[in-house]
Symmetry: C2
Subunit: 221 residues, 2 copies
């Protein structure tokens, strides 16, 4: 098995998704699966699946398929899935509230355990079991709870400052909902989720698809 740090990025990106489907298969008592069958479930080409799985050693046998439980356990180990990941939420607006209330219930090992907010009607309250502190306690509380992962939903104008404060508190993984690209402190990993761009991309790609479909229809005459 390759060392975790040597996996190709593209493979690494797919592992959480593979893991989720393997878990579903295991729950449905499926013991073995061929790459072609798995391909139809996860919508990834079977050659890519075989290449990805091969990074973890000889897990499949021709004509027999892959052992679902074994793969699932391998990926769980790679993802460190058994470890409870405590998460700090920065910014408890509408989106932040939705995140606290849902709190990744599909995955009991991901858990927002503390939150920070500037709005004083929310600070020093507890929402869905999550205490909400003022921003002045950010560094202290995050260190105290040994948290290394955060979700930021603060406005773009505050996002860079929040990132600096999080870095100073020892956080090295941040999921960021502000769309502007940030100055990322050294050693920190940031992922962006930008719903406006996602929607614009969707509409644009869909219009392009529609244009293609209409083109094809014209070509038929």
């Amino acid at each position: 098995m390759k060392n975790i740090i040597d996996l190709p990025n593209a493979t690494a990106e797919r592992i959480p998704m593979y893991y989720r489907y393997l878990k579903m298969l295991e729950e449905n008592q499926v013991q073995r699966i061929k790459s072609q069958e798995f391909s139809k479930i996860v919508h990834v080409p079977s050659a890519t699946i075989r290449r990805d799985f091969s990074c973890f050693g000889e897990l499949g046998r021709s004509g027999y398929g892959y052992d679902v439980v074994f793969l699932e356990k391998t990926f769980a180990k790679v993802l460190n899935i058994e470890r409870l990941e405590k998460i700090a939420l920065i910014g408890v607006g509408n989106l932040g509230l939705a995140l606290i209330k849902n709190n990744f219930r599909r995955n009991p090992n991901l858990q927002i355990t503390i939150a920070f907010e500037v709005n004083e009607t929310l600070t020093d309250t507890i929402v869905s079991g999550v205490p909400i502190y003022g921003m002045d306690l950010l560094k202290e509380k995050i260190k105290e709870n040994e948290i290394t992962t955060a979700i930021s939903t603060v406005p773009s104008s505050d996002a860079n400052q929040v990132l600096q404060n999080l870095a100073a508190a020892g956080v090295h993984a941040v999921l960021n909902f502000a769309p502007e690209r940030l100055d990322i402190p050294e050693g920190m990993t940031v992922r962006y989720i930008d719903l406006t761009s996602e929607l614009q991309n969707l509409i644009y790609l869909s219009n392009r698809n529609q244009a293609r479909i209409e083109n094809d229809m014209v070509d038929q005459f």
Copy 2:
């Protein structure tokens, strides 16, 4: 300029982001920008930027850079940004409510105009100016409003049925927050946003980065 349907997918994916930064530059009275400077802002290699921009004809001159306003107007046209895009929201839980309340205010041309929900305490009410109907009115109301774009936040168990109903109502673009891959009706374009997987990927990639940093430190001795 290449026909919109002939653009490479990867280029198409980057256009909304390019557009957003160009607009920011224009608002800050920046008239010209070189690909190297733009690269630092958008975190895309300058060679990729030049290749992407070249799909739209000769927009830049060596040593002079690209005309910001011209590029911005070109991309606005490609993205059809001036057109008001009415959006239907399916599922008004915590996340759905956050989406209605924020309602893409950064982009006035994207607007959730109607919503649908099973929970009867919400149906037949108006939240932040958005009427919420029961699911039985989905097809009728979407057709009536000539809506072709939808956001679905319904649970995985209902997502496929919702997708079929949306297709029947004439919707061809869906942003989907349920993580499981769906049976996509013909001619429909679907994008998935899966916050749990995003977070798992983030934590995994960050741990990998941390391991690399520690590795490098060991190598120094």
